[in-house]
Symmetry: none
Amino acid sequence: MASLADSIERYLKALLDQAREGMIEIRRVELAQEFECVPSQINYVLATRFTPEQGYVVESRRGGGGYIRILRLSWGSPPGLLQQICCSIGDEISQEDAEALLCRLGEIGAVSSRQEAMLRASLRMETSMLDPPWDGILRASLLKAMLMVLFEEY
Amino acid sequence: MASLADSIERYLKALLDQAREGMIEIRRVELAQEFECVPSQINYVLATRFTPEQGYVVESRRGGGGYIRILRLSWGSPPGLLQQICCSIGDEISQEDAEALLCRLGEIGAVSSRQEAMLRASLRMETSMLDPPWDGILRASLLKAMLMVLFEEY
DNA sequence: CTGATTTTGACCTTTCTTGACCTTCGCTGT
DNA sequence: ACAGCGAAGGTCAAGAAAGGTCAAAATCAG
């Protein structure tokens, strides 16, 4: 049973898939009514699943005629993809950011859900023994190494 | 007499046999109820019979709508090869042994020379900062993690 | 009998859901 | 102008709904 938050997330991402320009605009109350939940549930979904780390930007305006706008940041074309990713990983990365990145790779179909699960599990296992800042440093290079191997590129 | 843990193990593996993609998702409480046991029994089964060394990866999420997901690793050509390798790596491995292993994998064509080089380089980089015994422990899990990803099919 | 494995249960952490209360914005009447 | 009102959306904290941990107790195999 997927949670309500999951359903809303899927719904919004489906909308984004259809939308041109990777941007959608919604009314918080309306969406809440569709899912029969309190409006703040929408904020929860946005706060936990549409962060910049996950590749989204959310804008909103209050008052009459208010709205919530969600845009999906796009990664460039495949040739430079790995490079961009590695760049965004940097020398150090938190478990949360790493998982968000894997999530995005899954969403765009760059890795299968099985691969995603394995990468995530590996990252967690390998770095669980280390303390900051070593864990973040290790995670970064481990992730880059695994992605390089996966994509068979340099 | 098969123990409870054995029964749960068999049940889960039967589910995996039927499942597409070698992946299943369960609710810990539900499973516990089916077998009329405490939920933590499920964790025990997972911890003792579904480890990476035995060819499984387990992921889970807490909170409302939580779940436990189990993946069976199915690596290609020589069935069981990765499992054997993981076993032979153990909990700890020296840089020399690791490189020798990579070398062998290269010889039998399990990894390309590029991949071999990448793996070797990653191993060196990641563990150069640590002192024994941490470097060996880290190297072992690093190597297993990367090989898991590398041999992943689907 | 002894050591290893299994089973249980008390307690912990994470994630989700809800609701009360707050802030911002546009419009309208003075 | 501008004060007031209604219509958005925002915040936060409490409680519910999962799963996780750990170690003691029970059981099993040799």
